[in-house]
């Protein structure tokens, strides 16, 4: 790295992401997209959410896509508790089964194959998570880059950072070397809260795992509660993904995108 210590007025680049970070980032990205995609189709087969041990057509749901076939054209509505909205435009119906229409129902759709894909991608993500944790600890990235520093969690700093996000402000200069505090919190939340939670709620849907560890039922409140929490986690991960990509454009698509591919990140001087 060439650092001639001539202040920040000169452009310079440095290795922002070492190879393990980049490799694991892209494998995880592929696995997560696959899981969201296959999970979406699995959800479509029974688009109702319940709380407790059991839940089925005929039992009350806490949220559902419901079909009303009394009129000529099937009316679809999304019902959450007492609240209901007509969604005929984005929902469809195949074999008496309501589903989310956003993508056309594939003619050669294999439900069994989709589940197989989901479990395979889950294994890849689990292995990836373990190696990423090892990398975070061994390289010091967890301590140096992810954990908020002293004072960073002050209300004043959180508020400043929040306002920076609202203003869609691009961070320049040496400050761009560090993650901001909200970024740190969101990475920690995905790595140490959402991913473990989505794995455990997924395992609570498994008959054999809950036979071996029935305590999972007690932790999550039953098989259907676990399923509901699983989809809530999936939704939050999707939300993270969207914000993550939007932030990439705000922070600089080329510079940050390149950093996650080649590792090199360029410090762009602050405007005068």
């Amino acid at each position: 790295m060439q650092d001639k210590r001539q202040g920040t007025s000169e452009r310079k680049n440095y290795l922002r992401f070492p190879l393990p970070t980049r490799l694991l980032h892209w494998i995880a990205a592929g696995a997560i997209l696959t899981l969201l995609w296959s999970g979406f189709w699995i959800f479509n087969l029974h688009p109702r959410l319940y709380w407790g041990d059991s839940g089925y057509f005929g039992a009350p749901a806490i949220a559902e896509l419901a079909a009303d076939t009394s009129s000529e054209e099937t009316q679809m509505s999304l019902i959450i508790g007492d609240w209901s909205i007509d969604v005929t435009g984005i929902m469809g119906r195949v074999n008496r089964q309501p589903y989310v229409r956003i993508f056309n129902f594939p003619q050669d759709f294999e439900f069994g194959g989709t589940r197989a894909l989901h479990f395979t991608a889950a294994w890849i993500l689990v292995v990836c998570w373990i190696y990423y944790l090892r990398h975070l600890l061994n390289s010091g990235r967890l301590k140096n880059n992810w954990l908020p520093r002293r004072g960073e969690l002050s209300l004043r700093n959180l508020a400043t950072d929040f306002l920076n996000h609202l203003k869609l402000r691009r961070i320049r200069g040496e400050a761009a070397r560090e993650y901001n505090v909200l970024q740190k919190i969101s990475y920690l939340a995905v790595m140490f809260v959402l991913l473990p939670l989505i794995l455990l709620t997924g395992l609570t849907m498994s008959n054999s795992v809950t036979t071996a560890w029935p305590i999972l039922f007690d932790i999550f409140g039953g098989r259907q509660s676990a399923r509901t929490l699983h989809f809530v986690c999936a939704f939050l991960i999707l939300l993270f993904l969207l914000v993550h990509v939007i932030q990439l454009f705000i922070a600089g698509f080329i510079n940050h995108g390149r950093a996650m591919i080649t590792g090199r990140f360029e410090i762009v001087p602050e405007k005068e």
């Binding site: 029974h46 041990d53 059991s54 005929g58 439900f111 197989a116 479990f119 008959n207 071996a212």
Partner: protein, 254 residues
């Protein structure tokens, strides 16, 4: 420095080779050829879950008050086969269950003979791969008891359940589990649901309850139990109707 690095690398290498060995063992144990990465993941789940369940722990049972009065269904709810409909109309008086294959004494049992055997009643949670689940009270004969009666021969590995309902593609439904799952204390061939005979939509007169696995394994309308050392000779050889046509995973503990 080299030494310190080597110790860490050695440990990592040992863990990796252990994992690779485990995967190879799981793949060898899998009943069908491993065609792709999905089959490999299925084989890994099968191997790991067998370790998890090695003590044959019991599944949780529920309060009878929580049973679903009208038990939900999936798949065929009324076989269009004439032979089945005739037997249904006749209250399955002429129906028999055959147990055959790698057994010492093949048997054929009528419904009343099955009802006269030691029965077991369990209130369990049924989970469908579509996402729903429902509690039911099931009564039937433990499969291990039937297997003991016919005498399983050495070398047998799997139990195939042949059903009476023809599917959309013209093939009969069938499913299979390994002998270990078949010997689980709560694996029963059920003729009763919530105190009544199993209704037609739920698999009259006899259906499998394999409580450690998911819904499509619970073969309905069963008429023949085959003890075998291979799954290759039935259907497309993947061990079940959904496995054959839909690439469903054979190991259905999850």
């Amino acid at each position: 420095m080299a030494n310190k690095l080597n110790r860490r690398q050695l440990l990592h290498g040992m863990l990796l080779s252990g994992a690779a060995g485990g995967v190879a063992m799981a793949a060898a144990k899998y009943p069908s050829p491993i065609r792709n990465i999905y089959d490999l993941a299925d084989a890994i789940n099968y191997g790991l879950h067998d370790l998890l369940l090695s003590g044959q722990p019991l599944v949780r049972e529920y309060d009878r008050a929580n049973v679903a009065q009208i038990f939900p269904t999936s798949g065929v709810t009324s076989p269009r086969d004439e032979r089945y409909q005739r037997m249904l109309a006749n209250n399955f008086e002429d129906w028999t269950l055959k147990i055959e294959g790698l057994v010492d004494n093949p048997m054929e049992l009528s419904l009343s003979e099955l009802r006269a055997m030691n029965s077991q009643t369990q209130v369990t949670l049924h989970t469908c791969d579509e996402g729903w689940s429902a509690i039911g009270e099931w009564t039937g004969v433990p499969l291990w008891q039937l297997l003991q009666l016919v005498g399983v021969q050495p070398g047998a590995k799997y139990v195939i359940f042949h059903c009476m309902d023809t599917q959309g593609d013209g093939n009969l439904y069938y499913e299979s589990i390994d002998l270990f799952a078949a010997s689980h204390p709560q694996t029963i061939l059920a003729y009763g649901l919530n105190g009544n005979p199993v209704p037609e939509p739920n698999g009259a007169p006899l259906r499998l309850r394999i409580e450690t696995q998911i819904g499509y394994k619970h073969a309905k309308f069963v008429e023949r139990v085959e003890v075998t050392d291979t799954l290759a000779h039935v259907g497309a050889g993947r061990g079940g109707w959904w496995e054959d046509i839909d690439n469903a995973v054979w190991y259905a503990g999850l």
